[in-house]
Symmetry: C2
Subunit: 128 residues, 2 copies
Amino acid sequence: MASLNVGSLGEYIREQRRNAQFSLRQLAEAAGVSNPYLSQIERGLRKPSAEILQQIAKALRISAETLYVQAGILEERREEGLELRVAILADPLINERQKQALLAVYDAFLKENRESGPAPDASPAAED
Amino acid sequence: MASLNVGSLGEYIREQRRNAQFSLRQLAEAAGVSNPYLSQIERGLRKPSAEILQQIAKALRISAETLYVQAGILEERREEGLELRVAILADPLINERQKQALLAVYDAFLKENRESGPAPDASPAAED
DNA sequence: GCAGCGTGCTTGCAATTGCAAGCAGCGCTG
DNA sequence: CAGCGCTGCTTGCAATTGCAAGCACGCTGC
């Protein structure tokens, strides 16, 4: 169907498989799918269901979401600022007042950064 | 296939459709799927692909991810407290100092809630 | 050379997905 | 009453998905 997405999906799976140093049959067996089908997926001839993607992801030890994004059924979260807002609002451990307070602090930081230019992200490698 | 998941998925879709006060045909048309197929999905007779779920979600104005979770192809993020911490740390719009400040505020709120009991989530429906 | 093994791919088929045509039932109107 | 419009569902079929059986090729050991 969406062969554009399937094309890059298949390439991505083949790349990850090679990174993991699995043969096609090894991955197919680990994933519980037939090896011809996996071959077809990698070459973009078939568009696998989400369940198959889940199985492949698990066998490759990568997140299923990664493959969903490649397949075009999940969007990468790219809306800047929105993701954290949504996460704050969705957090079950804090109440509404606290959520609003966090959002206010976040907004203040964004404003501060807009007025003083791009965030000088002094994020050191020590974070790792 | 996984008719357990499909069962709850269909019920969920019907419920959301009724909440939106759409007839089956209206939603099917808005979603760009056939109305018999939507009927079958709601009754758990068919298991739709992620693409169809995406279309339905869009027509219902809910996130596709919500339906993916119902369908069992995506897991809910349940790690309490961790998701927001990760989101704060991953946000590209604020710097490290600001991130630490947000985390400190969040921690303070969690502590406050632990000492005063469960978060009295006065989250109103006004969020819709 | 040949047999055996591993690799990736071809092919035909059964099951599933999604649709078009249409049915049955209900309420409303003239 | 008949006709119309709306509702949700039935059914047969084409296309797609995923698999089993098996092919072609390269490499290795005898």
